[in-house]
């Protein structure tokens, strides 16, 4: 009887403690989250047997409510004033079984005021917004420009990073070196490799097939330098790693990224711009050729509205002309977007994007296999999107 009462009491306590913890009421524990509900539509069917328009299959020639939709939940607990533990779970509607994965899971140790060290699973900043890529509310577009952001399929590392922040007058300098490995990442196999005959090292699958391959990255190390004021942020970063893709016989091939970027929010003018270069050696270059890309976004805030325009490009970054090498994807796109602040913590976004594949490639779109027909989807493809982004 006493045990039962005790049990009931515990249950009762837990019942009351949970919502309190969830509301951030439990001292030292905070719970927060973000949500994106989005729909996209590509205006052309590019291949007879598939509705997929983009080669990653997220954009289809049928209105879809899944492509951009996701939910993130973050729990952070302070162990003491210097040590905290943070976990972030991410569920993407895109993944068939809607599996939930830990996107972040780390222990943070504050060494002194400017320096913290984090260890565990960390999203590292290849680009300006890489580490908050999933938090749609934090940026103007529905999807950050894919000509830049799709170029690095590795987004998290198991390892350590250091955040060193220094005040320089009114500005703040962030120096963030990181080191680790990546396990369980998946990369999209380019259409050339999917559709090319097996004899030529391809998979010999029907055009429009979307294949992801598992790969790992070792000795992933890089640095992110970011100088920011109340008005602007300027950043530069580089990273280097050795990639392995057992399915394609890729072993310890060096991959290098370097990038620069800037963003500004001054009076009502909003500006974002970035550029990157990717260089990949060895057999890995067949699937991941050397590429470069850039984009520029200009927006003007009018009350709760932020209309913006983006021009973006992905191109060949001097691929080798002999030996095994992949075919670089080339495209340009122009995007007209509108963000509306529904309330503090909720934004509604609309976008219309014109994608133009270039130089005889299919860009980031799906296209018939090489040899049988021109790979170029022929003309522009329009991609329309709407999304609601919330943080809580």
């Amino acid at each position: 009887m006493r045990k039962r009462i005790l049990g009931l009491l515990c249950l009762g306590l837990a019942w009351h403690a949970l919502p309190a913890a969830a509301a951030g009421g439990l001292e030292g524990v905070s719970v927060s989250g973000f949500l994106t509900a989005g729909a996209t539509y590509g205006d052309k069917q590019l291949l007879p047997d598939t509705k997929a328009v983009s080669q990653d299959g997220t954009i289809e020639n049928t209105p879809g409510f899944t492509a951009d939709s996701r939910l993130g939940l973050q729990i952070s607990a302070k162990v003491n004033p210097d040590i905290s533990v943070t976990g972030q779970l991410l569920a993407k509607a895109r993944e068939d079984n809607s599996n939930v994965k830990a996107d972040w899971a780390f222990v943070s140790y504050r060494v002194n005021d400017p320096i913290s060290i984090r260890a565990g699973k960390i999203k590292f900043p290849t680009f300006l917004i890489s580490d908050y890529y999933e938090v749609g509310y934090a940026y103007p577009w529905i999807r950050p420009p894919q000509e830049v952001y799709s170029s690095n399929p590795i987004t998290t590392l198991n390892g350590v990073d250091m955040l060193a922040r220094f005040r320089l007058g009114d500005m703040s300098l962030l120096v963030q070196p990181y080191y680790g490995v990546s396990r369980g990442a998946q990369a999209l196999v380019p259409q050339e490799a999917v559709t090319a005959p097996t004899a030529f090292g391809g998979l010999g699958l029907p055009a429009g097939t979307i294949v992801y391959t598992d790969f790992t990255a070792d000795a992933l190390h890089g640095i992110n330098l970011s100088l920011s004021s109340d008005i602007f942020t300027i950043r530069a970063g580089s990273l280097r790693t050795k990639v392995n893709a057992p399915g394609f016989g890729v072993f310890q091939d060096t991959a290098k990224f370097s990038s620069v970027g800037a963003t500004m929010d001054w009076h009502n003018v909003v500006l974002y711009s970035e550029a990157f270069k990717r260089e990949i050696e060895g057999l890995a270059n067949v699937a991941f050729p050397n590429q470069k890309g850039s984009y520029a976004t200009l927006g003007y805030r009018i009350g709760k509205w932020l209309p913006h325009f983006t021009t973006a490009r992905i191109a060949d970054n001097d691929n080798p002309t002999t030996g095994f090498h992949g075919i670089p994807l080339e495209q340009t796109s122009k995007t007209l977007g509108l963000r509306y602040e529904v309330s503090s913590g909720a934004a509604l976004k609309f976008e219309a994007q014109k994608v133009t594949p270039e130089d005889g490639t299919r860009g980031l779109l799906i296209a018939p296999p090489s040899g049988t027909a021109a790979k170029d989807p022929g003309s522009n493809v329009m991609i329309y999107g709407i999304s609601l982004d919330v943080v809580f």
Binding site: S30, S76, P81, T86, W104, F106, R110, D113, V135, S344
Partner: protein, 144 residues
């Protein structure tokens, strides 16, 4: 007779208060009495509240606390000291929070709760309506 006294008192108050008594109560930036800072600027306060620095200019750790949303003191503090609107602030914190870089200040409660918190936490910094100030806390800045 009584009413005359009241009028005199009112006049005296008006004279004393002329120019110093604002239309609404002043906001006080408060710390623990043991904090040896003599004062603080609005800019330094904003840097602490936006997690740009984690220490006071004297090197002591600074732990800012907020009042609950919609409290008049909080509204006043954010418009006068932080100078960011709600949406801009939400975007600002989204970038820091979801990348594990920093957490927004804890919400403690109303003026009385914040005063009590600051009075018992040596590293704390808070803001309260001026009329809540007493000897249990130290005032570093008055926002008139």
């Amino acid at each position: 007779m009584k009413s005359l006294k009241q009028i005199w008192a009112a006049l005296l108050l008006l004279l004393l208060g002329a120019g110093s008594v604002p239309a609404y109560a002043a906001l006080a930036i408060i710390v623990h009495p043991s904090n040896n800072m003599a004062g603080i600027t609005a800019e330094e306060t904003a840097n602490i509240y936006l997690a740009k620095v984690g220490v006071f200019s004297n090197g002591q750790r600074a732990v800012p606390v907020d009042q609950t949303e919609n409290s008049p003191a909080r509204k006043r503090f954010y418009s006068a000291v932080i100078k960011k609107d709600d949406s801009a602030l939400k975007v600002y914190w989204s970038k820091l929070l979801f990348t594990g870089k920093a957490q927004p200040p804890d919400e403690i409660g109303d003026d009385a709760a914040v005063k009590k918190w600051v009075a018992t936490n040596p590293d704390a910094i808070g803001y309260v309506d001026g009329k809540f100030v007493d000897s249990s806390v130290k005032v570093l800045l008055i926002i008139p």
